[in-house]
């Protein structure tokens, strides 16, 4: 499973980057429509899907591929 980043929801608060135990996430240089710097998976191979980014993200940015479209 690859974690999907819903880029339009991201507000660039950085809580996921702070709490990620494997340091997978970084700020990318891109910005979304709201003007926030978005988070990106820099090292997806290091991700062990612990779910801490999902737990700490206030905006529900990290989801499974299939759970957002329903």
């Amino acid at each position: 499973m690859i974690v999907k980043v819903l880029e339009e929801r991201c507000k660039g608060c950085g809580l996921c980057i702070e709490f990620c135990p494997k340091k997978v996430l970084v700020f990318s240089e891109r910005r979304n429509q709201q003007g926030y710097k978005i988070v990106a998976l820099a090292f997806p191979e290091k991700c062990n899907q612990c779910g801490i980014c999902y737990l700490m993200c206030p905006e529900v940015v990290f989801v499974k591929e299939d759970s957002f479209e329903k």
């Binding site: 660039g12 950085g14 779910g51 737990l55 206030p58 905006e59 529900v60 759970s67």
Partner: protein, 244 residues
């Protein structure tokens, strides 16, 4: 843990209007996860209050009533008494629950009305620009206490969860925080317990969330999240009443 990485079904896909790093939206998600896990989406009614959370009906896909400022507990009393089969929750801030609505809130608790209160304590009035609220800790700077809260002038902070622990009608009174992953998980457990107690008609259930307000605390999201640790020294986390 099956909920991880699943977008909660009761949460609408609208983008949140909250500031970056605000814990409101995290608590919205926890609430939606609990509603989904208990399967009570079709018989839940929420009471939104005035404050940053007044647009609750944009985000949570259950029936929501907007109550006047501070009157959420009274509106919830009416709904719960008319339809005891529904599960009713109110979603209030500290300015709403503990300042203007203190009378309504305490009398609902002392009558033992069987609904759940989510109180989001960010220690100031967030929506109106960061004025002092009853739960502002001593020495905290706000727009109306620019030199810090002085007990001789502005009084002492009010500890609502401890106070409600002494009420006979209260079934559960707890204070939780959501500033690290462990606390998020335990906050969800407490919230779930509150809804279960309500379903068993045990009494008034109260869950207080210590929440970060980065903009009005004039901090960045990370330092605001860390500052909540400091707040827990003034407002200790824990369950102050649980009738089991």
């Amino acid at each position: 843990m099956s909920q991880l990485f699943r977008f909660p079904q009761s949460l609408k896909k609208t983008l949140f209007h909250y500031c970056p790093g605000c814990h409101h939206s995290l608590i919205h998600r926890l609430l939606c996860e609990v509603i989904d896990e208990l399967g009570i989406r079709e018989k839940t009614v929420g009471i939104a209050s005035i404050g940053c959370s007044c647009f609750l009906y944009f985000y949570i896909d259950v029936d929501i009533v907007e109550a006047p400022h501070g009157r959420a507990c009274s509106a919830a009393t009416g709904i719960k008494r008319a339809r005891p089969d529904l599960l009713v929750f109110t979603y209030q801030g500290d300015g709403d629950f503990a300042a203007i609505g203190l009378g309504d809130s305490l009398h609902s608790a002392s009558r033992g009305e069987k609904f759940t209160v989510l109180m989001i304590n960010n220690t100031l009035y967030g929506m109106t620009g960061g004025q002092v609220s009853p739960t502002t800790p001593l020495c905290q700077k706000t727009t109306t206490t620019p030199l810090g809260r002085d007990p001789q002038v502005h009084g002492y902070p009010m500890k609502i969860a401890e106070m409600l622990g002494n009420f006979e009608g209260v079934a559960l009174s707890a204070r939780v925080a959501v500033n690290n992953p462990k606390r998020v998980l335990s906050a969800k457990e407490v919230l779930k317990k509150a809804f279960l107690y309500q379903r068993e008609a045990k009494g008034f259930t109260y869950v207080e969330f210590l929440s970060a307000c980065p903009v009005n605390w004039k901090m960045d999201p990370l330092s605001a999240t860390k500052y909540v640790d400091k707040l827990t020294e003034i407002f200790p986390l824990g369950t102050f009443k649980d009738i089991g």
